[in-house]
Point group: C2
Chain length 125, copies 2
């Protein structure tokens, strides 16, 4: 009855949303992306293992996967130094840097209202 919105399952940037919001959220969505981006914003260039330690709970598999997606979305640059032992650093691209205000406003809202919620107490979930 209802025609498929685009193709069938929209995978990533295909998200419709009312606006570019869906696109933006598809880039920073998921459990880890925003965390990784934020770390790179705060600390600048970071090595693989530094990121692992900086993001508690993330598995190797997830970290790599998310980094690869961020790279494909050109938010993050992956720099491989042909050395032994191997060294790989990750860094925000200009596009990634441009997310800072947006991420900041998200962070701000979250900080402000997480407190509010906790303050008002029981939301009895």
């Amino acid at each position: 009855m209802r025609k498929e919105t685009s193709s069938n399952a929209l995978n990533e940037k295909e998200i419709n949303s009312s606006c570019g919001m869906g696109y933006a959220l598809s880039l920073i969505g998921g459990r880890w992306k925003s965390n990784i981006l934020w770390r790179l914003i705060l600390d600048g260039k970071m090595r693989y293992n530094e990121l692992r330690k900086a993001i508690p709970g993330i598995s190797e598999r997830m970290l790599v996967a998310q980094l690869r997606e961020l790279e494909a979305d050109r938010l993050v640059l992956r720099i491989v130094y042909p050395e032994v032992p191997p060294r790989v650093e990750y860094e925000l691209t200009a596009l990634g840097q441009s997310m800072r205000p947006m991420l900041q406003s998200i962070s701000d809202w979250g900080e402000a209202h997480r407190k509010t919620v906790e303050d008002e107490g029981g939301l009895g979930k």
Copy 2:
């Protein structure tokens, strides 16, 4: 209160993230939340069926589910008129309204850079 990250799957607001960002994203994350919120921001109070029509592709099940979550998160107010036939309207709470700047900045970034990406064309993926 807070379960250890290593325990299992953190469900919602339990997301760690580096800051409140995870909290905020847990509220607007998923495929529909931002869309619904945006509609309510633009159009104000809306009935269930109005929302359905305004958001192409969403199923009843999803719309209700997402609305209930938004309600539980106190972003949306559900107003039931005890009439026949039933009438239910959804409206942003003050908390929901407070998301507008944040959503706007997300939307702005998305609009700006979705164009950029398409403009630069081949990203070879």
